[in-house]
């Protein structure tokens, strides 16, 4: 009798677990469907944002400006302060904006890809003088930007269950900025500016996290009208 009751209880618990799993996967698949992959509209939005970001970046920072600002004016250690406070936040800002406006997985990666390509095109066509240290427009820069976009897309996808988009954006932005800085430290700066000193790493990481925090809050604030319009449009549909 006892055995029969135990077997029944086991069967019931298995049934409940199966039902729970079924509901969990149904919910997950509906979320994936809602996220969607990049359609033509999202692709165009992401590309335009990347191109605009690249034009603003190349226009705003002529050769020597970032280095002078970081190491002569602000007296920050290097190499890496310019990446942590300017290049990283710049790419992340446009990628987060694209991700929030387009609302599709892959938008951030597309934006960072178009950003790096446009910087390379502008440097090649206009023969612009830009920072040599960061290899802007080079293949390494292309790799760094794509890595940053991939990190953003990956973490926005992983954290899509979070209701508070501000915290989701802050966390994603900080991780992406740190990833970009580490990529530069390991693969680009040893060829151009030398290895970073171990004693400088903590302050540069703190700066990197601060840059990520500020850019996430700014991206949320700037994208608010577009996100609200989109929500209104969906409601209207």
């Amino acid at each position: 009798m006892g055995k029969a009751v135990a077997a029944g209880a086991r069967m019931c618990s298995r049934l409940i677990a199966t039902e729970g799993n079924r509901m969990f996967f149904a919910k997950k698949s509906s979320m994936v469907r809602r996220d969607g992959i990049l359609d033509i509209k999202a692709f165009v939005v992401a590309t335009i944002l990347g191109v605009a970001g690249a034009i603003i970046f190349v226009y705003s920072f002529p050769a020597g400006a970032i280095t002078t600002l970081m190491h002569e004016v602000l007296k920050l250690p290097g190499p890496g302060a310019g990446i942590a406070l300017i290049l990283g936040p710049f790419i992340i800002f446009f990628s987060l904006l694209a991700s929030r406006i387009a609302g599709k997985a892959g938008a951030a990666c597309m934006t960072s890809l178009s950003f790096s390509l446009m910087v390379a095109v502008l440097v090649a066509i206009l023969n612009l003088s830009i920072e040599d240290k960061g290899k802007f427009g080079g293949i390494e820069f292309f790799g760094a930007a794509v890595l940053c976009g991939l990190i953003i897309d990956f973490f926005l996808h992983i954290l899509r269950g979070w209701k508070a988009s501000l915290w989701k954006f802050i966390m994603t932005s900080c991780i992406a900025n740190t990833g970009l800085l580490i990529f530069y430290w390991l693969l680009i700066f040893p060829q151009t500016a030398g290895w970073v000193k171990v004693s400088d790493v903590p302050i540069l990481v703190v700066l990197c996290l601060l840059g990520g925090l500020v850019v996430a809050v700014t991206a949320i604030f700037v994208s608010k009208p577009f996100a609200a319009q989109k929500a209104g449009g969906q409601k209207g549909d």
């Binding site: 603003i56 226009y59 705003s60 920072f61 002529p62 050769a63 020597g64 400006a65 970032i66 280095t67 002078t68 600002l69 970081m70 190491h71 002569e72 004016v73 290097g78 190499p79 040599d132 240290k133 500016a193 030398g194 009208p225």
Partner: protein, 70 residues
């Protein structure tokens, strides 16, 4: 390690950043002003529509008497 200082490049950079920030701020102010104007017009229209669609009060003696002060 970190390259030569170039203060002319820095001043050019700051000027350009200031221009871009001013453009962005102007665009934001224009957007907000437009939004506020649109909201004001919408609420005005809503008030007008409500006042035109309100049913007239019944013209009954007992109601009028009830409203009069004692």
């Amino acid at each position: 390690l970190c390259g030569p200082a170039d203060f002319s490049a820095l001043s050019l950079c700051l000027t350009r950043v200031a221009v871009i920030s001013a453009t962005g701020t102007t665009a934001f102010v224009v957007y907000k002003a437009k939004e506020l104007l649109g909201r004001g017009q919408k609420s005005k229209k809503l008030v007008e529509r409500e006042s035109s669609s309100q049913p007239e009060l019944p013209d009954r003696e007992d109601v009028k008497v009830g409203l009069r002060p004692a």
